[in-house]
């Protein structure tokens, strides 16, 4: 459990989003306090990934508002504005998406050097420290193709952290991993959360969600069906739909 201040850093209000005429998000609202950790759970296709993509402006929303740090995400129009937002909000993907032609260290260094325009030496020091933090000092010169899934995912996390974001989004980051390597990635995320990083996680790891989250949101069909602190949601869900989902997955 993390100690969250009350001031919200992410405020999502009545967000609607459609692909063509298929409405994927049908009015989602939630808030995350600075330093807070929330988990979003729900069946496949319920719009979890889409919601995360909306939060860092990869997908435009059709109605509602999203405020992250000092950005009104829904009203960002130009690429420059979106880029400014993405310096504050970083996303880690299920499939790692490392740049295959760059070594682990170069993957971590690229964005700070070319996007934040920071000095190479300074970034190098920070990147080495970040790789050490995720336990991959020995692998800094390896290419992504030479790393295991869990190692790649930890490099991806280090790469996001190198941007020094205010908020981290994790989209099922352990879903493509072998059971043994899931733990190394979850440990990394847990450490981050304990250090006070604001985290929004989409996950199917219920035990992990229970341990780490301040608040858990259950989504289905593009709406939040139910939410609450993990102990309440997991043990005393009020909605039938939630109980059905949890009984299947636990």
């Amino acid at each position: 459990m993390t100690q969250a201040t009350t001031e919200p850093i992410v405020i999502i209000r009545d967000v609607h989003q459609s692909f063509g005429n298929v409405e994927v998000l049908k009015g989602v609202s939630l808030e995350v306090p600075k330093g807070g950790v929330i988990c979003i759970i729900g069946p496949s296709g319920s719009g979890k990934s889409t919601l995360l993509r909306c939060i860092n402006g990869l997908v435009p929303i059709s109605r509602g508002s999203i405020r992250v740090a000092n950005f009104d995400v829904h009203s960002l129009r130009t690429d420059q504005e979106k880029i400014a937002l993405r310096k504050e909000v970083s996303m880690v993907f299920q499939q790692y998406n490392l740049f295959p032609h760059k070594t682990a260290l170069e993957n971590v260094m690229m964005a700070p050097v070319h996007v934040l325009k920071e000095g190479k030496d300074e970034v190098h020091t920070r990147a080495v420290a970040l790789l050490k933090k995720v336990g991959l000092s020995a692998k800094q010169d390896a290419y992504p193709g030479e790393l295991s899934g869990g190692q790649q995912q930890r490099v991806a996390i280090a790469r996001s952290l190198a941007m020094r974001p205010e908020v981290m989004l994790f989209d099922e980051v352990t879903a493509a991993l072998d059971p043994e390597t899931v733990k190394e990635v979850l440990n990394t995320i847990q450490e981050l959360a304990q250090e006070g990083m604001t985290c929004i996680l989409v996950t199917h790891e219920m035990r992990f969600a229970r341990e780490i989250a301040d608040e858990v949101y259950f989504t289905d069909g593009g709406v939040i069906v139910e939410s609450g602190p993990p102990a309440e949601l997991f043990d005393r869900a009020t909605k039938e739909r939630t109980r059905a989902f949890l009984s299947q997955i636990l």
């Binding site: 690429d79 880029i83 400014a84 993405r86 970083s90 295959p100 996007v115 193709g145």
Partner: protein, 296 residues
Amino acid sequence: MKRSRRRDALPQGTDLPVLLPMAAHLARSAAIERAAGVPMLRLRAAHGMALLVLFAVGCGIAEAQGQPSQPSILTTILKWTPLLLRGFVFNLAISVLAMALGTVAGLFLGFAQISLLPPVKKGAWLATHFFRNAPWLVLLFYCMFLLPFQITVFGVTIPLPDWIKATFGLSLPVMANVSEILRGAVQSIPTTQWESAASLAFTRRQTMWMIILPQCIKRMLPPWMNLYAILTMATVLVSIVGVSEMMTLTRQALSAENRPGLLLAFYSYVLFWFFIYCYPIARWTVRLEARYAVNI
């Protein structure tokens, strides 16, 4: 990781395990040919052997038809070889020049094809497909007849000899194919690369130059080299429009000798020279292809 990558490479729809390696191989070469837009030149040493046999048969026929008083067939061929090789060097010069011109123009056209501006994109698409699907010979004739024999720029008159015009003509289909190779390579990079670059706040331009294109070069090299080998063989087309390259010179040599029996021997000799030049390129292309198929 390895396992999932191999699964991705497999085509759907076959359950027979024995077919899987072959199916994967076929799917890969089909994908490469689709991207390249021209058939892959899969020259093998056996093709060279076949040419040698053809040449030997040709020599045999010529000897059988020749009179005892005439010089031997090999002596005749050796006598003409310096001239023919001068023609061959001309073929190679045309191929290198047309490739260079076509590649530069094709890269521009390819970038226009992936532009975000609809008119640029549409126009480039149209040009690419027009020049890619037009017969090479037709483009060659167009250039021969439509280009002036000299141009005047700022009072300086630059002559345009036939072979230059022919080179322009050959560079047009090269341009279109390079354009398509670039577009195909850029689009073959998974969109997740764009997405993760965007989430790290890279601009579109930065993403293109630092993340997408470096990954494309490896994918573009084999089809580009293949295109060059095909172009080299197509350079004999310029003999039709009167440029004195190897083919034209061969015809002249044959009419000077005036021995119909020499035909097969001479033309298989010419083919053999092209084989010697294109075979290493084709082998190298296959090697690169195999290496990158594993590493990408």
